[in-house]
Subunit: 543 residues, 2 copies
């Protein structure tokens, strides 16, 4: 879309005077009004495109879109004014972006956000503070510490005096903001790894000397992390990055309800102890990505206590359930965790992206402290001392103010709606002959699949080998159905593959977080799937 | 500031109807105009606080600010409307934040941004795409790939056919967006580490089996990274995180110009080879954080070629110098790098925060690929397959459109201004008796210190031991001066400690990136420092 603009002679910022102007917001009414007008276009021009349906349509194919963006040269001269850019985004980008705000978009953990989030996000850019250090953020660092303590308290429920001691104490770290849940999990495992291999007489600690020396000094064959088979792929990635190897992120089997099998966990711990392996952490998931399942947090916490193991809860998805009086008990036991991951851009309805990691022990992050001569000097209030990231935005201003605007109760309405709608959805699936519920919703995620009568009939009397063959047919059917629905561009349900009854099943996956999604829309989406089946897939499934 | 609000009975989003309303931007004029009005307040209400001076004043002490933010409880009910939040930020936060946009704020790598950046940042939130996968970003992923190729070409200067092959080829990865330079450097070292220890008959590769096994299988004593003493602390942190140990991020001595001593580098390589250590990467810095110095990139690239070593350039600061025809030769040789870090929120004048990492070889990032069943499936266009982070915002929309608005030439004006102003600044320092230039500017960063006549007299005839004592006095003096100037709140110059002539010298550090900063302002800042010296420090320095 930019090729023809190379010849543009626009001199927007190609001279010094023009350049200086763009660094000063105009003082005069006319100039001011223009900038405000642009904001109006952004707020409502984009809004007009974010219509009812989801728009992952293929009326412009991926190939065609790819062909449009093949320019590898930066223009020498300015080629567009801000007004052109905004128009270009409204005309050329928005129509081919994904309308994640659609109530018919129920396939991923990205959804509509309250409009005030856009305003809060704008404030972050306008202030442009850098939270790596006090000298580029001052009060915002202090403000962020308060917010960290609020979420810490939601998770760990320490008493008022605990927070009075730690909120603004520069030598305490209750948590940290990072880009997303992947980095939050990585941060937690980084801390746990270092704490398991601290310095001793002959060793300066793992962080200084590395994994090889640590295993040697502590006479361990390997270091492992334990998580259920439903754990997010970022946990394997963390094992890879941290140098313990992703094969050593060991997957514990799950029960038929997709929760960690705690007997299998304990058996695995015994096995590892007998093999002289070091266990860095056991991870419970509070809301698995694929099924929304919550592991038995209390049971796992007891096992961790028994064997003195670091207990991490990946609550990237489910953490905000704690804001609901009605459902917070689903996460009972999370207060025993040593560390917890929570995502802001998921069920806290923030714009992309915001991850957070919290530690029960305010000194835990000392295991990953770094100083330098020009910032983050020892004893300073600089938040960059204990953080996987350096420069970062004041994302906390978005979350903290959203909590003010919403209150616990506002968020609870969203949480409760999702969980209850998922239950209705499950009931609806069970009512319809074409579908089979694969995972019952514990939170607001459920999986199901098309399971036509023709196959169902054979299934009941089939041998395991026959079931494998039938399951393969079902997988192909569900895969095609999901693609056809996505291509139609009205609604979007995602798909994944999960293991159930020893079969790898391709399933349709729904995430119910948009408050505008209701049972009527769910029924429309299921109707559409039935119609796709009848019109496109039925014959094939009977072959 | 929130304690009194606990009793608030505002029912903003405490009921379902109110809640739903905030998810829909209003269709009616009245409601729309209110949202636009809020944007106006954000744009100009904050602007009115971001006045001329820097405002890291201590008229409200850190202690007093800390005392204000001691509330660890999330309110049950909504306690503020968006209008209150905006007013609260304007009244209570902005006045105690840091005016990084002030032309008198010349202490850190954070500065003024063009106003259109705020609009572009707003667009990112309004679209709320998630770049981890195509299903939540579609055209934006494709658009981002085009931008990655533009920056890749700026760095590596491959020909048009190379880009035609790779821009939109899902199996090629030219680079990746991450939160900041720290994570960009970490990503580059992650890739280099894995490529040095690939799989073989008896080994599944470092990423899968870990650092301990890798060293064992490849019969290496340790794995190291080489960088000059001026290297950013994030590089040591990368060594710690990646499990090789931060003691194994070996610091090569620098010349009197703070550039890596390439003889020392080659000597160190020989030494390491004789010790049977594995060298993961050699890092050249293009713009050190403390002095803005550029390492001899070409020489280092030749050494890397000679010994077949991964060559990384940390151009987080200096990378955008390539946009200037006048000064791009300062980075000559960067095209030989295997990987390069560039930051967007530094000299690309983006809002916080944006890091990028680029690889010459489009297959390099295959060494860190991760797949899962529900996204990032093999062969898909999902950008999350090769990325240290998972969910992330479409920050690329800000950078790509900024390049359209500015053109190379617009950015070149900024780059040239900074470099040339730094030269004038250096001349000014040399003219004034009170100061000593410590590092001459190669880019737009310089360091200097107060060096009063009383000490200067003794210095020339002093023994090294006497110089150590005098240097200690100078350090105290410069430390106090920097603090007093910061506290006064008119201007801000940072301080750091660098080693010169075998002495650890506390120096004043200036970063000249704000186009509104000019030599008149520089003179005012130096005048202020002279006056602080005369009024507060002179007597002490003579004791």
């Amino acid at each position: 879309m930019t090729t023809s603009k190379k010849e543009s002679t626009a001199s927007l910022v190609a001279d010094w005077e023009a350049l200086q102007r763009i660094f000063i917001r105009p003082e005069k009414d006319h100039g001011r009004q223009r900038l405000v007008k642009y904001m109006e276009q952004i707020l409502f021009g984009l809004h007009d495109f974010l219509k009812e349906h989801v728009g992952i349509t293929e009326d412009v194919s991926l190939q065609e879109l790819s062909d449009r963006y093949m320019d590898s040269e930066i223009n020498l001269l300015p080629s567009q004014k801000l007004a052109d850019v905004i128009k270009g985004i409204i005309d050329n980008i928005a129509p081919h972006a994904v309308n994640v705000a659609s109530p018919y978009f129920i396939g991923h953990m990205t959804s509509a956000i309250p409009f005030f989030m856009v305003h809060l996000h704008t404030i972050v850019a306008a202030l442009n503070q850098n939270l790596v250090k006090l000298e580029t953020s001052k009060v915002v660092s202090i403000w962020e510490r308060q917010l960290l303590s609020k979420i810490h308290r939601l998770l760990f429920q320490k008493d008022t005096s605990f927070y009075a001691d730690h909120i603004q104490n520069p030598s305490s770290t209750l948590g940290a903001f990072v880009e997303d849940g992947t980095l939050a999990n990585l941060s937690a495992m980084w801390v746990a790894r270092n704490r398991l291999f601290p310095n001793c007489d002959t060793f300066a600690g793992l962080e200084r000397e590395g994994v090889g020396r640590a295993l040697e000094v502590y006479k361990k064959k390997r270091a492992v992390i334990l998580v259920s088979k439903m754990g997010h792929y970022s946990l394997s990635k963390a094992g890879g990055i941290l140098g313990i190897g992703n094969d050593n992120v060991i997957r514990i089997p799950v029960t038929e309800h997709f929760q960690m099998d705690t007997h299998a966990l304990e058996k695995q711990i015994h096995q590892l102890n007998s093999e002289n392996a070091a266990i860095i952490a056991v991870i419970a998931i509070a809301g698995t990505t694929e099924t929304g399942t919550i592991d038995p947090i209390n049971d796992i916490s007891h096992i961790c206590k028994k064997y003195s193991l670091h207990f991490h809860v990946d609550a990237a998805w489910g953490g905000p359930t704690l804001l609901s009086d009605k459902y917070r008990s689903l996460l009972s036991g999370i207060e025993h965790a040593d560390s917890v991951t929570v995502d802001g851009h998921k069920q806290l309805y923030m714009p992309m992206s915001c991850g957070m990691v919290y530690f029960k022990d305010p000194q835990a992050m000392d295991a990953v402290a770094y100083h330098s001569a020009y910032v983050n000097r020892p004893g300073s209030v600089d938040l960059g001392i204990r953080s996987i990231v350096g420069s970062r935005a004041a994302t906390s201003l978005v979350l903290g103010n959203a909590l003010e605007i919403m209150g616990k109760k506002g968020y609870a309405l969203l949480i409760d709606h999702g969980i209850e709608l998922a239950k209705e959805f499950a009931t609806e699936i069970q009512k319809r002959e074409l579908f089979e519920l694969v995972s019952s919703p514990q939170l607001n995620i459920l999986t199901y699949r098309v399971f036509p009568e023709s196959i169902r009939k054979e299934w009941h009397t089939a041998s395991f080998e026959q079931k494998q063959r039938l399951n393969e047919n079902l997988n192909q059917l569900n895969l095609r159905l999901q693609r056809l629905q996505r291509q139609a561009g009205i609604s979007f349900v995602s798909r994944t593959t999960i293991e159930k009854d020893q079969l790898k099943q391709v399933v349709l996956r729904s995430v119910l977080m948009n408050p505008m999604t209701n049972i009527t829309i769910i029924r429309e989406i299921l109707d559409e799937q039935e119609s796709i089946f009848v019109n496109h897939l039925k014959e094939r499934s009977q072959q």
